[in-house]
């Protein structure tokens, strides 16, 4: 018990919160990037553009089927070999974006497919072009359908930032490690704190999604 009291000293908690803040910053940056890139890739894949879609699809498949840990390694250790040498935080954002974009692309593709094709036909028959139909009619509806899947993907993303401790990204998990590095007795209190903090962030995200779902007409 004493361990818990000592472990949760204000200094330690503040340090954890600093880590949490980095986790959130990195998550938000990666969510924004992967949402934009993933949507583009998803559309390319959905549209069946000659060769391009097939190649994009294959790359997406490769990324989707590898553990994120490996994507992190390849980004941080592999990219310098082709002349890109990102700092640790950009590297983490890049790795997460690469991985999550591939996941988002699939969500977007199936989101578009989930919209009754009648919506597209109605728009085409009404004189709109394919792209106008997609942009004005289908995508706005698809986004709403995709919301649950997108949010759980983004929840995964938040949790997945913890894997980047492996390359010493100074996020929440890493800060916990530093704290229990001072005193090995703090490890269990730290894991409890981790569980609680991640839960709060992730669960708030899913509550937000539920709220949006109800309030988006």
């Amino acid at each position: 018990m004493q361990n818990f009291i000592d472990a949760y000293s204000w200094v330690n908690v503040r340090f954890l919160l600093q880590g949490l803040w980095i986790t959130i910053e990195i998550s938000v940056a990666s969510i924004i990037c992967s949402f934009i890139i993933g949507t583009l890739l998803g559309i390319i894949r959905y549209e069946k553009i000659h060769y391009v879609s097939a190649i994009v699809g294959f790359i997406i498949d490769l990324i989707r089927n590898l553990p994120l840990l490996l994507i992190i390694f390849f980004t941080y250790f592999g990219l310098p070999n082709i002349g890109i040498k990102p700092e640790i935080i950009p590297a983490a954002i890049m790795a997460l974006t690469i991985f999550e974009s591939a996941m988002v692309a699939e969500i977007v593709r199936s989101g578009i497919l989930s919209i009754d094709y009648g919506q597209t036909e109605g728009a085409l028959a009404n004189g709109l072009t394919k792209w106008q139909a997609l942009r004005l009619i289908v995508l706005p509806q698809a986004i709403k359908n995709m919301l649950p899947a997108l949010v759980s993907q983004f929840i995964s993303l938040v949790k997945d930032t913890s894997l980047a401790t492996i390359i010493v990204l100074p996020e929440l998990m890493y800060h916990a490690q530093i704290i229990y590095g001072q005193n090995t007795n703090y490890i269990i209190p730290m894991f409890v704190a981790l569980a609680v903090m991640y839960f709060i962030v992730c669960y708030s995200l899913s509550l937000l999604a539920r709220y949006l779902d109800h309030h988006m007409a």
Partner: protein
């Protein structure tokens, strides 16, 4: 081979002299050697102080050190990719590693030992050389490799960091925890129910690693290390960091 031409060609020493800074790969989660101070956010430890002193020695008073936290798993790729100029991160000099990187002379002569629960029947490494014995270590460390040689019948579990290994020892996931003695004594002092046994069964000389083909840089590091040993700085740092570690005989390590 994924070696990078531009990194290999670059002369680290002259580049560092020009920029007036050396980028060190150091530990940030290892007590006594390199640990982030959670109040200040600064790194602290024997290796950190030594790196600072060496930097000043090489670049002069206005020389700057940049510290990049590394782990046992990331330090070599970061060096090879040129993210860091040198590794000073509890890295034992071994012939295998020497094939990939160049080492300076040793700057710390650790030895590997065992941490066990007080009252445990295990007194030395040979007590663990039987089927069913489980030894805990930290992945990427040289100590786990040594155990495989000295006690080949034991099973070794490699964990991500010392605290996890220590907790696994408390959870009886293994009978003993092995790593370098300095670290073990640190953990024993936090956990009164545990003790270091059996003395050192290997020598673990820590060296600074630099990329291949950087002889000038390596020589300069050796030169700086020797000067610090001569002018007493080295012993001062040893005292500062290891003087109070119970059971650790820092006198023996003086240079």
């Amino acid at each position: 081979g994924c070696s990078n031409q531009s990194v290999a060609k670059r002369d680290v020493l002259s580049a560092d002299m020009k920029s007036k800074q050396i980028t060190w790969g150091v530990k940030s989660d290892t007590r006594l050697f390199g640990l982030e101070n959670i109040r200040t956010g600064k790194l602290e430890g024997f290796e950190i102080d030594l790196a600072k002193a060496m930097t000043k020695e090489i670049l002069g008073k206005d020389g700057k050190c940049v510290f990049v936290p590394v782990t046992s798993g990331t330090r070599v790729p970061l060096l090879k990719n040129g993210n860091i100029d040198a590794i000073m991160a509890t890295m034992t000099i071994t012939p295998d590693r020497a094939k990939q990187v160049d080492f300076t002379h040793s700057y710390f002569d650790a030895g590997q030992s065992l941490l066990v629960k007080k009252g445990s029947p295990i007194k030395n490494i040979q007590d663990l050389n039987h089927k069913g014995a489980v030894i805990l270590g930290v992945s990427g460390s040289n100590s786990v490799k040594n155990v495989a040689k000295i006690a080949p019948k034991a099973r070794v579990l490699q964990l991500s960091d010392y605290a996890q290994a220590m907790t696994a020892l408390k959870s009886k996931q293994g009978q003993a925890l092995t790593t370098d003695n300095g670290i073990l004594y640190g953990m024993a002092s936090e956990n009164p129910g545990y003790e270091v046994v059996g003395g050192n069964f290997t020598k673990e000389p820590y060296g600074i690693a630099v990329n291949k083909n950087q002889q000038r840089f390596r020589n300069k590091l050796n030169w700086a290390l020797a000067r610090l040993e001569k002018n007493g700085t080295y012993n001062r740092l040893l005292l500062k960091w290891f003087g109070n570690v119970k059971g650790f005989n820092y006198q023996e390590m003086k240079r």
